[in-house]
Amino acid sequence: MTTMRTPLMVAAAALALLGALPLLLPAGLLNASIQALIAALFACAYSLLAGRAGMLSFGHAAYFGVGAFATVHAMNALGGTGLLPTPLMPLAGALGGLGFGLAAGWFATQRSGTAFAMITLAVAELLHAVAPQLKGWFGGESGISTMRAPAWGFGFGSTTQVYYLTLAWVLVSLALLYFHTRTPLGRLTLALRENEHRLRFLGYDVHGLGVSAFALSAMLSGVAGGLQVMGNESANYVVFDAGVSATVVLNSYIGGVGSFLGPALGAALMSFFGFAVSDTTQSWLLYQGVLFVLVMMFMPEGLTGLVSATTRLVARHGFVAVLPLALSAVFAVLLLAGGAVFVVEMLQRLFSQDYRSLARMSGTAPPVLLFGRSWLATALATWIVPAGLLAAGALMTGVARRCHRALVQAASHEAPPSAATLAERALP
């Protein structure tokens, strides 16, 4: 019973927290939350295609962007009154994403694997190249701006109202995505990833199934694009940028593309991380990339894989037995991250143009200001800090490994898990 209720309770707590955020956060962070919600929806929509259907798209910015521009045009239509009441505007994004997704998906899903990825990439790049030329549709370099019209007794002037509107749309979209997994079409989408060939001989039209997954993913990406336009009150052709396509891939895989909420988690975390860090460092993209590589190398199932592995360990050995492993692993990560960040930030400052010209003028290496202290690049004491952090991190990693080995050895005396629990574990 507890296993049935725990996810429900977690979901209820998460909902309560999301509902209370406007009371807890200052306006700046609430804006970041809106961006995080949109990124979360985009990542979940993307993962329907990349995770469940097993088709890796490298150009999902196209559907996000088409949704964004469909929404901005719907908001500006009829002399600014808009086609729909403001709360329903993302429907225009959904329709735009769906329509464009059907068309692009019909072509892209004729192929699979690398060819499929290349087609999606080409579609997005095509839009990115063409959009600035089509001033009427995409507003040229400056983009198109719009206004949220008051509707249903709400002014939609405050960040709080925009937040709740975004939250409502994200939740409805996620509910729709979840419902999809329970329908015959959703089960077939999973089967498409597993064995397309067999599906054909069971009488299914696999191209049609591929297009349906592609279009649904594009439709909800369009909703996310629409929500971004509602929040920003403007749309610009940079939404078609390859960076937007790349970010949704990174977010989804960091969170764990194989699970339902993993991509949302990854996107939300990365959005907040970016918000918090991008002001204080110029190396944010480097950290994002390194994080992605590390996750792919050591946790191919993403952060949710880490969470479920930990829950399994706890369920099997008990909280107390796992605690030393968890603590040593966390310390190891913190120490290694600390050392690495120190080196990266130090090098970034030492090799910056400003510093080099400063050094050339003064003739010596002036001290570098970092973490509220000044460090001498030539002093041994400066480099002992990251070296010590990294060494301590390596030591902690060894301790964590030993803890893990002890747990595994203790487990080998017990019975192996039954096939039934294995199956349950693998069920999506």
Partner: protein, 251 residues
Amino acid sequence: MNDAILSLRGLRKSFGDTEIIRGVDLDLHPGERRALIGPNGAGKSTLFHLVSGNLAPTSGEVVFDGQRITGWTPQRINRHGLARSFQITNIFPKLTVFENIRLAVMRQQVGQYTFWRVIDRLAGVRAATEALLEKVRLQSQARTLAGEMSYSEQRSLELAMTLASDPKVVLLDEPMAGMSNEETHYTMELIREVTAGRALLIVEHDMDVVFALADRISVLVYGQVIATGTPQEIRSHQGVREAYLGEEAAA
């Protein structure tokens, strides 16, 4: 001869310069159980691929239930009422056994684009899936991942998936490979039972099964049917004895 449900006429298939199927004519009648035997490399599996739409013939035609199905896609042929199993097990290994059969059952009951109904609430699909599970004796494995079962159990699963669409013609490619004597016997009786009222074309290396199950047998050697007849006729056919049966018939 016109009442055949499945007719192959002058069927040929070449891969490059190599001709694998060299002019096959074959008529399968409704309700008939036909075995296709022949040495390794005779083209039995290739013939199945040609009939089921996995490969397109170089020349010749396949007529199924009054329609020329040459060049049709596999899914169209399947929907028309021809289901097949594969020599190399072809299932969804990372999905549960229940899900495997349910996917096969669903096609006819709800179609493929049903996005407005929850699958667990479809009582008809569940009942049909459970009936098939019971038939192939995999009820206890319903929640196991298909890929984690033994080879013979996977063969049973594939048989269930093939039967799920209630086909008019069933093509089985070595369904008993890797099974124990008891499993082979059970599966043979099962095939006999579930193919009643359907036409069956079966490739099988176990000669006891072939002679016990088939109404008629066709012998394929180097891409040509060299003989067709009742088990008795085939057993005594001189050409077959020389070309293929040799030791088995003598033993």
